[in-house]
Every structure is written in C-alpha cells, then in structure tokens.
C-alpha cells in the first residue's frame, strides 16, 4: 500500500491566502512593541532600558487601544478563517488592552522598593547568595519583564479572536509561557515566587495538553479545527458522538484551567500569592478576561447547536466554582490569597452568564468581565502599597485599623471590596445583575438562586476586611502605607474610577456590550 494513496494530492493551484492586516492591527501593535522591546534589551545600554521599555510598551498598548477603537463595528473573518474580528473579540481586546496599560504602570512603579520595583534585580542569582546581596539596594531590574508582559498581552488579544482551535492553542501558549516566567520574578520572597512559577508551569502545561488532545479528537470528529466547521459537523447527524463529547470535555478542561474554575482552581491561590503583585494583577484580570472570551467563542460558535448537552455540565461547574471560591475565601488569613479565592468565585459568577447561552448572557458576561477586571486590578494595586520591613504585608491581621492610619487608601480598598461583593452603586452590582438576569431569562433560575446565595456568602468576607480596617485599633507594629508613585496612582485611579462610574452610570457600557454581543459565524 503506497503511502501517498490516501493522502490528497496538493490542489494544482489554490488561491493565495489573504491576511487583512488592518483587522489585526491591535495585535500587530502589541506584538510589534514586544519585538521592539526585545531589541531594546539587546542593544540599549542598561541604564536606559527601564524607561525605554515602559515607553515602548505603553505606546504599543495605547496604539492597540486606538486600533480597537477604529475597528469598532468590524465583522470580519481573515487569515484563511483563523481569526475572527467581531464585536465580542474587539470588546475583550479593548478590555485586555486597558487592563494591560494599568498592569504595566504597576509593573513600572519603582518608588516602593529602594531603587527597584516589585521585579527582581537579576533573576539568575541564587536567593541568599553573595551575588544577590551585592544587588540589594541597587536600581538593577530585570527589564525583560516588559517585553514578556507585552507578549502575554498579545496572546491575550489573539485568544478571544481565534476562530480556529489550532490558533487558539497557539494563542493560549503565547499568553501562558511569558506568564510562567514572570511569576518567578518577585524581588522579595523569591523562594515563594520561584515555587509559584514551577507550579503554574507544570499545571499549565498539563492542562494545555488536555486542551490539545481535545483539539485532536474534535479534528477527528469534524475533519477540521475551525470553529464554524465544527459547528457545521455538529448539525449533521453524526455517528461519532463519542469523539465529539470526549473532545469537548478535554477542551473544556484546558479552558476551565485558565479561568480557574473548580475543580481546576487549585493552582490559583498559590500562584497568585507567590507571583509579584503586579504580575498577579495581570494574571487575575487579563488572563481571565481573555480566557472567558475564548471560552464564550468556543461554546457559542462551535457548540451552539448542542448547547443542551454542555449546559448541565457548566451548571454544575458554575455552582461548584462559586461555592468553593466563596467558602474557601472566608478561611483565608492572607489578603492576597483571599483575593485569589475571590477571583475563583467570580469565575463562577461569570459562568452563569455563559450558561445562559443567549445574546443577553454574552453581553452580561462581557460587561461583567470589564467591571471585574478593573476592580480586581486596582485591589491588587493597593496590596502593593501596604508594606512593612519585609515587603508587602498581606497578613489579614496586620491590616487592622488601616482606615484610621491611612483613610484614602483604605477607603479606595473599601470601594473595591464593595464592588467585588456586588453592592449597589458599584460596577460589581451592575455586572452581577446583568449575568443573573440573563441566566434567569434563559431558564436557569435555580442556578441564579445558588449564585445569589454565594454572593451573600462572598459579601461576608469582603465586608469583614472593611470592618477590620475601619473599626479595629491599629496594631503598634503594624504596616505602613507607602505613598504611591505617579504610576501606581494612575493605575489605582483608573480602577477605582471605572468601578464607581460603571456603578452609577452603567448604561452606555451596557449598551456597548449589547451591541458587541454577536459572534460572527
């Protein structure tokens, strides 16, 4: 039997592929800035690097935001069907870019540590060695973190726009690989940071292998990995349902890992705690927003026709995620870990919008993602300010009485916590209302009841922190609140402003999300 027998001959002439670079311009801007950043690392003198890197990164991100703005309303599939530029993709891209700007500002803040920022002086030095001690107090900085962050953000832009499982896998890796490295770059508590990097890397690689096996089985089922192609295959009566459901299940494992949904959440608290706080802020917001964008596209575009099969599964996962996230957050004694479990719980709340499987559910999820992103980013930003001699003081007990010592910072944190709890007049309430009402309209009333109960449980631990900050006596040897530098102030102001404005005056963005909420098929 000849090997060529069953392989198709190459078509005599096929049309040359087309790539509409204008539709890809947000990604071109970010990846271009990342490449320039690598060249800066290669050729610029060490003193000039940090400033140049920040300038290049911010230019790339703002250029990307501008491109997203100019592309608004575009509905186009390009690059031989691999990239879909449509409302949800652009909405998520805009959100990720804006969050990226704020995270980049947090990364660039250097006034909080003597000379450097949250990032290690020289990642290759062994913790505790003479080499490391020689660098303490110098303004050395591993400036590679900026191009790494840009590459991760580029992957986050590509992930929700992938109309093809192969490109989605590549985007998943492009966003994950730099983040694995960035987790290990903390200036303080380097052992914890390196440990977080190992854990995140090993579990991330494990989960992406599952995603990939799901991709392979779906390729076997549909003969193609394009999302519309899989959707077409699910609509004809098929004999190979085993391949379809196994593939869908394995694919879901990979996606649920990235949004840190139960039972694939166990890495979240460890990695969020060990990573440098600005990197945690980027992971907790950008990655989650981008991964939800991709998850929504996979479920709505490729598996929209078999939604009656996956909705029960996501029901169960949403309930487990909300309950586990909220209950375990109560038991935490560390503010950073508490926020990590809070991000798990929020993944569950957003999943209720996904379960709706309607246009309102999609619009609500998009709105929720934006609201959650800015609030969480600012909350992690505030963590960088509360410090003692040992770096960031994240132990809950040391936050007692912070409101008396530093009412501005504690007040801002209280607003953010109220938003995360979903109290009215904050963005969190609007977001929760949007996804819960969409889910209820789509016949998931039981799920909404559970979600409301979990919100109430979650509100308990958010409010507990507020009570601790404002109604407890400060400890004598408590942490001090650093005066934020210009960069951190800007990022915090952005986060708090979005949180309040979207709570008081949400209708323009709700309208925008509603207009955007239509996938191109």
């Amino acid at each position: 039997m000849s090997t060529a027998q069953s392989l198709p001959a190459l078509a005599a002439d096929f049309p040359a592929p087309q790539i509409a670079y204008s539709a890809l311009s947000p990604m071109v801007a970010v990846f271009g800035a990342a490449l320039i950043g690598v060249l800066v690392e290669a050729f610029a003198p060490r003193r000039a690097r940090a400033g140049l890197q920040l300038a290049v990164a911010l230019l790339g991100l703002l250029g990307g935001l501008l491109a997203v703005g100019l592309l608004a309303g575009t509905r186009e599939v390009t690059a031989v069907g691999a990239v879909a530029v449509d409302g949800p993709a652009l909405f998520v891209q805009g959100t990720v870019l804006a969050l990226g700007v704020a995270a980049m500002l947090l990364l660039a803040e250097r006034s909080l540590e003597s000379g450097g920022g949250a990032i290690v002086a020289q990642a290759a030095t062994v913790p505790g060695s003479a080499d490391e001690r020689a660098l303490v107090g110098t303004d050395h900085l591993q400036t590679e973190v900026f191009p790494l962050a840009m590459l991760a953000i580029g992957g986050m832009l590509l992930f929700p726009a992938s109309n093809d499982l192969l490109l989605m896998f590549v985007a998943l890796e492009v966003l994950s690989l730099p983040l694995y490295l960035m987790c290990g770059l903390a200036r303080r508590r380097r052992l914890l940071s390196q440990e977080a990097a190992v854990k995140y890397f090993l579990l991330g690689a494990f989960s992406s292998a599952f995603f990939l096996y799901g991709l392979a089985l779906l390729y076997g089922y549909a003969g193609t990995v394009s999302l519309p192609g899989i959707a077409a295959a699910t609509q004809v009566t098929a004999s190979n349902d085993g391949l379809l459901y196994t593939g869908l299940g394995l694919l879901t494992v990979g996606l649920l890992f990235k949004i840190s949904a139960v039972p694939f959440h166990s890495w979240t608290p460890d990695v969020y705690q060990g990573a440098p706080t600005p990197v945690t802020a980027l992971m907790a917001t950008g990655t989650k927003v981008a991964a939800f964008g991709a998850l929504l596209r996979v479920y709505y575009v490729a598996f929209g026709a078999i939604r009656w099969d996956w909705r029960p599964l996501l029901w169960v996962i949403a309930i487990a995620t909300m309950a586990v996230g909220a209950l375990l957050a109560i038991t935490q004694r560390d503010v950073k870990r508490m926020l990590a479990y809070s991000s798990v719980a929020h993944a569950g709340f957003i999943l209720t919008g996904v379960v709706a499987a309607t246009r309102a559910g999609l619009a609500g999820s998009l709105f929720y993602l934006l609201a959650y992103g800015f609030t969480t980013l600012a909350a992690f930003g505030i963590l960088t300010l509360v410090r003692d001699a040992d770096g960031e003081a994240t132990d809950l007990s040391s936050w007692a009485g912070l409101g008396r010592r530093s009412p501005m910072v504690a007040g801002a944190f209280a607003i953010l916590l109220l938003a995360l709890a979903g109290i009215p007049l904050t963005s969190g309430f609007t977001g929760k209302f949007a996804v819960f009402s969409a889910a209820a309209d789509a016949g998931a009333a039981g799920l909404v009841v559970v979600a409301v109960v979990c919100s109430a449980i979650a509100a308990f631990f958010y409010v507990r922190v507020i009570v601790l900050m404002f109604f407890n006596e400060p400890a004598a040897d408590g942490p001090t609140v650093a005066i934020p530098g210009a960069f951190t102030s800007a990022a915090l102001a952005l986060g708090v402003a979005v949180t309040v404005v979207l709570g008081v005056f949400p209708s323009p963005l709700l309208k925008l999300a509603d207009q955007a909420a239509l996938f191109i098929r």
Binding site: L10, A16, V38, A42, F43
Partner: protein
C-alpha cells in the same frame, strides 16, 4: 544524465565538499595552540567534560546551549511546508516568511548581544 535523482547526487557531492573543505580550511586559517585539554581522552575516559569538583551534574552552560539550539532548530520546521508551496504562494509567501524569519532573528539578536552564545 538528467535523471530525477541527479539533484540528490549533486547535493551529496556539495555536502561532502563542504565538510572536507571547511575542515581543511580550518587547518590553514585557525590558530594552533596546544594545551593539556587537547591531549585528554575524548568523550570517554576521565574528566572528558569540564565538571565542577564535587558534583555529578552537567554544567549549566550545556543546558543553555542545548535550549538555544532546540528553539532555533525547531523553527526550521515551518520552512518545509513553505518550501513545497512557495512558488504557488507567490509574493505573499515571501513576505510572510520574511516576517517569520525576521521575528526569529530578533530573538537571535537578543541571545547574541546578551552573551548567550559565549562559551566562557
């Protein structure tokens, strides 16, 4: 002559000529300095690889070189499908491949400038 396998024969001849030619040229152009390491046993025997005293691990520089090799080597894989179809892809294929190689070259420039290719 004109047989379909002729190009392969030519390739073999060229490859052999390159190997012989470069070894010969190195003999003429390279500096000749003898030291103790050169008379050591090759690959097998004692102290074939420079190992720090008291450990049984490979020095980190092997791992660095190996990693750089892997990542640059594997990029070539995309040249194979491209080489099969590049005449049909036309100008588009050329532009895309230049972009791809350019990206790889940026990484190479970084590795080179930051001393990743220096052995000592």
């Amino acid at each position: 002559m004109g047989h379909v396998y002729m190009p392969i024969l030519v390739l073999f001849v060229l490859a052999a000529a390159f190997a012989v030619g470069s070894v010969t040229a190195a003999g003429f152009t390279g500096p000749k300095r003898y030291n103790r390491a050169k008379v050591d046993a090759y690959e097998c025997g004692i102290e074939a690889t420079p190992q720090p005293v008291g450990t049984a691990h490979f020095p980190v520089k092997y791992y660095l070189t190996a990693m750089l090799f892997i990542v640059f080597d594997i990029e070539i894989i995309f040249l194979y499908p491209w080489a099969v179809t590049f005449s049909k892809l036309g100008f588009f294929g050329l532009v895309e491949m230049v972009l791809f190689i350019g990206t790889v070259f940026v990484a190479y420039a970084y590795v080179w400038r930051r001393g990743g290719l220096q052995w000592d």
